[in-house]
Amino acid sequence: MMIFVWLLQVVLTPIAAPLFIGIIKKIKAKFQNRCGANVFQPYKDLWKLMHKDEVVSKDASWIFRYTPYIIFAITIVAGASIPLFATYIKNTLTGDFLLVIYLLAGYTFFLALAGMDIGSGFGGFGSSREMTVAALAEGGLIFSLLTISLAGGSSNLFSLADQHMILKNQFFLPVLLAFCGFFIVLLAENSRFPFDNPSTHLELTMIHEAMILEYSGKRLALIEWAAANKLFVFAALGANVFFPLGIAQNDSVCAVIVGVLALLIKVTVFCVFIAVLESIIAKFRFFRLPDLLMVSFILSVIAIGVM
């Protein structure tokens, strides 16, 4: 049972992640009065890209070639290090919230380097913007999770999720405030509106897309997949650390199944929220993004203050 649960913990992220990209796209299509692509379309895209040939720039070094593998691996490890559906598997080895944050910083680090590696004007600018946003998002991200950590008296995500902080009266407001901060960072880190337009075709306004313009075939598939994983990891983090309802607290089969279902439902709710947001607001001007990220940081600071 334990082996099975751990296996599920590791493979759930990569298996489930593309689905939620599909769900967001579907909801956005509905908002535009379209029928939209099938929710399983991202899987088809990945499968096709896996079977295509690649064109690699002659300026590319090993950084460009190995970045997709590295960042995909990082998202898998990060996915296994957070509470997905069960809190009783106490991951004391890699379950620390700072570790998860810095692992994901490694993702940004390599992706930005890969964007610079090929020497196109757009890749470099993408990296520069990505690093600007990532650097300023770091404060909000650490502090929003720190709020929970202080409330729970631990920095291990599993034991934090186990404590159901939101249900305790004195922590309800701080958790909610910190969640608002976290959600802003989620949007920033995953290049969603109002930080970046994930479906833009205009190179000059791109952040995330600009860095991966040069990738093709298998490596592109891995990068797109890793980006989906990252969104899933963030959504699961938000869902389980802030609202850990339904998460399995003992090792009965029933609890685990409920946990997985609860996770999928919660992440779907996140996706609905993101999609609604993307449909009703415009992208921000780049130099207004720091204000938003500061808001996220200050919300968390207030949360710590009122605790």
Binding site: V56, S57, S61, T94, S154, F286, I304
Partner: protein
């Protein structure tokens, strides 16, 4: 064997090795090769011996206290006291100088027949010996002598490449600033001496309760400025980004890696050991200074396009991070929380150690680049990863370690510092808590900005296409340079992976430092594994390493060999949206950080200058060339040092009035002075 090493003899042999190295290279300065061989061999031998001695001191749990010879002056005694803390610093210094010396064998070669190799070897050995002596001296006067030896030796190393105008001015600023710092230190020592009647550090410690609080506070401020100048805290840092890049790279590595830490060593020694117990506001001040230094340091690093200056600013940032640990240790010790004092001290010491390794690694890799390209300007680099792949790899490891990416060592010390600050937020009362929140916030942003900074440093130096012709002429560095870099890169990984073990050693050091041997520290705060608190906060380096490593291997195998193995790779041009690819179409170092600079324009005061030359001066329609230079204005110079200088100059002008040149007036002055002196004495 261990007992011989951890004794007076061991230390005398250590200094003897460096002395022979220094003297020998000076004598052999006629022959460049011999001088280099002599200086490097003895500094390597000395470093290895230093490592052995310090390990022996730690392993045998002995405190080596000895006095060499007799002096005519009653207040000065050649008294050395090698505590565990000193042994730790000796170990760090020796470890880094070992790699720098190995690197030096190859690196010095490009100075042959240009500058005197003998002088370099002399000052280099003197510099290392000065640092080791500084952290072991047990007498304030003796300490000052060694402190000056260290400062002067490093000054001569800074101005070593004397043909370059800016090195001389950098050296001058270094000399002035370091002596202003020394002035404050002397004042502090004299102040303490007034009450303890001894320059001996151990006597000072024993009679520290004689000091009234006001004197203690004054000594705190003086020492913070004095040692802080050496450590490079903002706003006393202005010498650091000028002097560190000017020195030869292996010396820069030593200066940034360990020399500035001697300032931190003295801060720890005085605030946490000698002047105990301390008031709360000391800790809060150090915490605030640490927070400001780390945040501003990394912001300035981001604006730089000189590779070594960038690294120098990043040293300021890391000193700030270390001071966060020291500051929280002070706060906890003021509030009598021994376990947390040890936790924060371990965090600070671990970061000192880690910063020494990865900063040395980065400086050595930067030196390897500079020795090939003969420029420090990052705008001239690009694509070096193809010409110097091994250097690039080492620089990448260094960048990852300094950006605190797991599983390298930087992450674990930063993790500990974060945990320390979190404990502070968790436990403190309402007002003190906000200092910790501020510190943790600035550390969080520092982490993010450091990541951006090193993406910029690595990306614009090693990636993309060459931006100038110098790149194509560069070749991979020689074996001596590479071996030093690779060993340091390996250390950065190993210290990360075995961080649990290292922190337990550091815990042993700091426990021994603060408490007497018989004092029992309640509970095992973080034992052999990397655990903080009651076991609820933990992180395993080995699990991360294997987790990420296995995942990478698995992904590569799955994607390459399982899903589709028939796939072909075609090499083509970079897709630049159909436009031509030129070196200038890529982003450059200034452009990369421009958006962050503009976001922080309130702090950084960016400047921009347009230069347009016209073909036709009258009509001004056809520009022949356009240049935009972006930079930041030197805030400290404009708002702090320039006004200070102005005040001093105007004061001097006023005081000039008493210099009439008439001998009768001077006799009158003497009379007044004598009368005053008599009055004071009576």
């Amino acid at each position: 064997m261990m007992n011989i090493l951890a004794s007076e003899t061991g230390f005398i042999v250590l200094f003897f090795l460096f002395a022979v190295g220094a003297a020998g290279s000076l004598l052999l300065s006629g022959n460049d090769k011999l001088a280099n061989a002599c200086a490097s061999c003895f500094s390597i031998a000395g470093s290895i011996w230093g490592i052995a001695v310090s390990v022996a001191v730690l392993a045998t749990n002995s405190v080596v206290n000895f006095t060499v010879g007799q002096t005519f002056w009653p207040l000065l005694s050649f008294n050395f006291d090698v505590t565990k803390l000193s042994a730790f610093f000796v170990f760090t210094i020796a470890l880094i100088s070992l790699f720098c010396s190995i690197y030096g064998i190859g690196y010095i070669k490009h100075y042959y027949r240009k500058y005197s190799i003998g002088a370099l070897g002399f000052f280099y050995n003197l510099f290392i010996a000065g640092m080791i002596l500084t952290v072991t001296a047990n007498n304030a006067l003796l300490f000052l002598i060694f402190w000056e030896i260290m400062s002067f030796a490093s000054y001569f190393l800074v101005v070593y490449e004397r043909d370059e105008e800016q090195n001389i001015s950098a050296g001058f600023i270094y000399l002035v600033m370091t002596h202003i710092g020394t002035l404050f230190i002397i004042a502090a020592f004299l102040l303490i001496f007034k009450y303890t009647n001894s320059f001996d550090f151990s006597v000072m410690k024993q009679s520290a309760e004689l000091l009234p609080l006001s004197v203690k506070n004054a000594a705190f401020v003086l020492m913070l400025i004095g040692f802080g100048t050496k450590a490079g805290i903002i706003p006393f840092h202005i010498w650091l980004p000028k002097a560190h890049p000017a020195a030869p790279s292996h010396v820069s590595a030593l200066m940034s890696g360990v020399m500035i830490k001697t300032g931190v060593y003295m801060l720890i020694k005085f605030f946490l050991v000698v002047l105990q117990p301390v008031p709360l506001w000391w800790g809060l001040t150090v915490l605030t200074i640490g927070a400001i230094s780390s945040l501003l340091g990394v912001l300035y690093a981001l604006t730089e396009h000189d590779l070594k200056r960038l690294l120098a600013y990043s040293s300021i940032e890391n000193i700030g991070i270390i001071l966060l640990g020291v500051g929280s240790a002070l706060v906890f010790s003021a509030l009598a929380m021994p376990e947390l004092v040890i936790l924060s001290l371990v965090a600070a010491l671990f970061h000192i150690f880690n910063h020494a390794t990865f900063k040395a690694l980065l400086f050595l890799s930067a030196g390897s680049v500079i020795s090939q390209t003969h420029t420090r300007n990052m705008e001239k680099f690009g694509g070096l990863i193809r010409y110097m792949p091994q250097t690039a790899f080492c620089f990448l490891i260094g960048s990852m370690a300094i950006s605190a990416l797991p599983p390298f060592n930087g992450f674990f010390s930063e993790w500990l510092i974060f945990q320390t600050l979190f404990k502070g937020i968790f436990l403190m009362d309402f007002w003190t808590k906000w200092f910790f929140i501020f510190a943790a916030g600035s550390l969080a942003f520092t982490g993010g900005l450091a990541l951006a900074c090193f993406v910029k440093a690595f990306g614009s130096t090693f990636l993309a296409r060459p931006r100038s012709a110098v790149v194509a002429l560069s070749r991979e560095s020689t074996f001596a340079l590479l071996i030093a870099m690779f060993l340091l890169a390996l250390l950065a990984l190993l210290f990360g992976v075995f961080s649990g073990w290292i922190t337990s050693v550091l815990k042993y050091i700091s426990t021994g430092m603060i408490y007497r041997a018989d004092a029992v520290v309640a509970g095992s705060a973080y034992g052999n594994s990397f655990v903080v608190g009651n076991g609820s906060d933990s992180v395993s380096a080995i699990a991360i390493l294997f987790g990420v490593g296995l995942a990478v291997v698995f992904v590569i195998i799955a994607a390459r060999f399982v899903i589709n193995r028939k796939q072909k790779e075609v090499i083509g041009e970079t897709w630049n949206c159909g436009s031509a690819l030129l070196p200038r179409t890529q982003i450059n170092a200034a452009g990369f950080s421009r958006s962050i600079v503009l976001i922080f324009k309130g702090l950084l005061k960016p400047s921009m200058q347009h230069d347009v030359e016209y073909l036709d001066a009258q009509s001004r329609y056809l520009p022949s060339s356009r240049a935009v230079s972006v930079g930041i204005s030197d805030v400290y110079d404009i708002y702090f040092y320039k006004p200070l200088y102005g005040i001093l100059t105007s004061l001097s002008v006023y005081s000039k009035a008493i210099q009439s040149g008439n001998i009768n007036v001077y006799i009158l002055y003497i009379l007044i002075a004598l009368t005053l002196a008599l009055l004071v004495v009576v």
